[in-house]
């Protein structure tokens, strides 16, 4: 038997390091071996071989300890510059601040390019398709994942996670991240491609100060016959929106993000899911399946969605997230459904917002679909054409550490680490509970290569309906037919379109 020395060394340190995580002083050799089984392995044989070698090594040496350090791991990449691109959001701005510490410790320079949402997506598409490898890692919305994977543009991370020289043993995404969010945002067809940069979701925002105003409460009860409280059903949501709509005072019950823009689709998804509908009949985002976007539930949700327009300011068909957030900051709207990464600027930041400290948050009201939420993640990915993949991996791994995640989260990020949510500083934030509750019931959305096109079709059709160019059924029938056509045989229409 030929002994591969390199392999031996690597495997041994991996085993030891993994042992070190089990808790100080609690490891027996047997436990270590048990753990080894859970190390990600390419094959059973490989795993067995490792286990055997590790046992051998441990028996011989009695378990030497090499502590993994970032400095040491980064040694070979000193002086390298890695470049990334993402949407100019507070968590990315936080990364810009944080990176100095990483640069100092590793000698790896990090350059961050910040663009507006669709510009960031476009730049990456061009870069990947030209295969020029400008970016060493990228930050992208997870709906883009399928098209990257299917075209071989991004690298599966298994080999970095399995490389003891790179893998920080204390980094255990399988224990440290919300598994559902991680799988949804960064996995595709059973393989891991990255880690969540932000795990965004939407929930209901309302004006807590007005909710608790005795005058409002009395008036509301007199008119509707029940107590004013945060809406849990859509009927309540409508009633409350109607009650607070006072155009003469420039105050409105809600604000719909009706511009022909991705924001429209995201917002409608809350209604669609809550009414019990979906776009495709699938279990996970990377699957293709029957098109159900024109189901009766979907049509009902769209009609309901439009019915709220009368409680929304006149320019509602020209709003996207930016506009409704500004309205909220100026105290012109009572309730809406909005993103968690925008919450900080409205609810906490007294310099930018007139309603800081006056906001309440809760799950989206429930319909047939029960408690729901949507996942919208931005994920770290490593392009296949990157020239500094290892250095990029080290940086990503470092960013996923609890401390960096906490810093980002407190600056308006949305982490996927439960331990960060458990931190007292985070618990204090007014929207933490709503954010966590929604994360727990978040539904997947398509990440297949065609998904951005599905979005574009739906945005157009919903926008046509909101602007009275079509009725709800026509709009969704058209969308369903186009989506089915786009996806091909795997996606028949379950609800035939009316002729």
């Amino acid at each position: 038997m030929r002994i591969d020395e390199k392999r031996l060394n690597k495997t041994s340190s991996a085993a030891v390091l993994s042992a070190g995580n089990g808790g100080p002083g609690s490891n027996t050799t047997q436990e270590v071996v048990m753990k080894i089984k859970f190390l990600p392995c390419r094959s059973l044989y490989n795993g067995m071989a490792r286990a055997v070698t590790v046992m051998l090594i441990l028996a011989i040496t009695g378990g030497p300890v090499f502590a993994w350090t970032l400095e040491e791991a980064a040694q070979p990449y000193k002086g390298v510059t890695i470049r990334t691109i993402g949407e100019a959001l507070p968590p990315l701005e936080a990364m810009e601040e944080l990176k100095a510490s990483f640069e100092q410790r590793t000698g790896i320079k990090v350059v961050i390019e910040m663009y507006e949402h669709s510009e960031a997506v476009n730049k990456v598409m061009l870069d990947l398709n030209s295969k020029r490898g400008r970016y060493d890692f990228i930050l992208q919305p997870h709906r883009e994942l399928g098209r990257f994977v299917a075209n071989g543009h991004v690298e599966a991370l298994e080999k970095y996670l399995n490389d003891p020289a790179l893998r920080d043993p204390s980094f255990q995404p399988e224990n440290q991240l919300y598994q559902g969010l991680w799988k949804e945002i960064s996995w595709y067809e059973g393989k891991v491609y990255g880690f969540p940069f932000t795990a965004l979701t939407m929930y209901m925002w309302y004006r807590d100060d007005l909710l608790n105003d005795p005058e409002e409460q009395a008036g509301f009860k007199a008119k509707y016959g029940y107590e004013l409280k945060p809406a849990t059903t859509w009927q309540e949501y409508t009633d409350i929106a109607e009650w607070f709509t006072r155009p003469d005072e420039g105050f409105y019950g809600t604000a719909i993000q009706g511009k022909r823009h991705e924001a429209l689709w995201y917002e409608w998804l809350n209604f669609l899911y809550s009414f019990g509908g979906d776009m495709l009949q699938v279990e996970s985002g990377s699957e293709c399946g029957p098109v159900i976007v024109n189901s009766p539930e979907a049509i009902a949700s769209l009609e309901y969605y439009k019915s709220l327009m009368v409680y929304s300011p006149p320019d509602t068909l020209n709003y996207f997230w930016d506009d409704v957030m500004a309205l909220m900051q100026q105290g012109k709207v009572y309730q809406l459904i909005m993103w968690n990464d925008a919450t900080y600027a409205v609810a906490e930041d007294a310099e930018a917002s007139t309603v800081a400290g006056k906001m309440g948050f809760d799950l989206v009201p429930q319909g047939e679909g029960g408690k729901i939420g949507q996942v919208e993640g931005w994920t770290y990915l490593i392009p296949s054409y990157s020239k500094n993949k290892e250095a990029a991996y080290l940086f990503i791994q470092w960013m996923m550490e609890a401390q960096q995640q906490l810093d980002q989260h407190l600056n308006g990020g949305a982490t996927a680490r439960p331990d960060v949510y458990a931190h007292p500083d985070v618990q204090k934030i007014s929207y933490s509970k709503a954010s966590m509750d929604t994360n727990a019931v978040a539904l997947p959305k398509p990440t297949i290569p065609e998904s951005p096109q599905i979005t574009d079709i739906l945005v157009r059709e919903i926008s046509s309906y909101l602007s009275d160019q079509k009725n709800a059924k026509e709009a969704l029938d058209t969308a369903a037919a186009e989506i089915s056509n786009l996806l091909g045989d795997c996606a028949p229409m379950k609800y035939p379109a009316a002729q």
């Binding site: 959001l89 507070p90 910040m114 663009y115 507006e116 400008r134 997230w321 993103w339």
Partner: protein, 272 residues
């Protein structure tokens, strides 16, 4: 009677001018307004100005280099277009050859080509050549429309110079090339300057090529503006500040070349 007409006409013209200038004035004012004033329900005309937006966006947000990038791209693209285009214009003005008008028409079509139809292949071509993300990529792209502008405008200016002058120069012993370089170019200098300024303006204002072809570090001002529309609120004060800085030099230049603008805008068909 005539006087009354004249007054009425003057009033009408001034009214139209106000209407045309008001939006620009408003963006100028907005660049000095606090967020509260900028987003006020009732338009605010009189306010205590804040001077924060300019330093905030150009220094703290690092937009100052974008001004420099815009200048580099515009100046070099203009220079390249002139150096390559003016001789071609001279040929069109002074030589007769088969296919001349067809070739001239070809130049016109390049000016008219919708950028959207060629920007992706151009990106791929430049990537193959290894020049995407470098300023030269945008400079070359802007040359596609500036070059034909130069050819069209300068042909007109050269046509304005009587041929007798060429002949006299040749008699004095100048070669034809010498005549072009030493006699015609200086004579056409005002036209050359006007053309240069127009090229500069077109390049400075361009968005799509610059956006697709340029690197983050090389962003021009027009490419930088959308970056201020953030998910956390459009920073109108800062957007306005950038818009003012991006447009003021253009207005100054417009004053300078106003006399030759007509010719530039009509590809030399009408002389101002």
């Amino acid at each position: 009677m005539a006087r009354a007409w004249r007054t009425a006409a003057l009033a009408a013209v001034i009214a139209v001018l106000l209407l045309l200038l008001l939006p620009y004035l408003w963006i100028f004012l907005t660049s000095f307004k606090t967020r509260l004033d900028a987003l006020a329900d009732v338009p605010v005309w009189v306010f205590t100005p804040t001077y924060d937006h300019y330093p905030e966006v150009f220094i703290n947000k690092g937009y100052l280099p974008l001004v420099w990038n815009s200048i580099i791209v515009a100046v070099l693209s203009t220079a390249l277009s002139l150096v390559v285009g003016a001789p071609a214009a001279y040929v069109f003005a002074r030589f007769d050859f088969t296919g001349r008008e067809d070739l001239f028409f070809f130049f016109l079509t390049t000016r008219m080509a919708p950028p959207i139809s060629v920007v992706v292949p151009m990106f791929l071509l430049f990537t193959t050549l290894g020049i995407t993300d470098k300023p030269i990529a945008v400079i070359l792209a802007h040359t596609t429309f500036n070059l034909s502008l130069v050819v069209w405008m300068m042909r007109g200016f050269f046509n304005d110079i009587p041929r007798e002058i060429d002949e006299a120069a040749m008699m004095d012993g100048h070669s034809q090339l010498g005549t072009f370089l030493k006699i015609l170019i200086p004579l056409a200098a005002p036209g050359l300057a006007a053309t240069a300024v127009l090229c500069f303006i077109l390049s400075w204002n361009e968005f799509l090529y610059a956006f697709i072809l340029v690197a983050f570090e090389g962003r021009t001002l027009t490419v930088g503006i959308p970056g201020l529309i953030t998910p956390h609120g459009t920073l109108w004060g800062q957007v306005a500040a950038v818009a003012v800085v991006a447009t003021l030099p253009i207005l100054v230049f417009t004053f300078i070349v106003q006399r030759h603008l007509v010719r530039g805008l009509t590809f030399g068909a009408v002389k101002g």
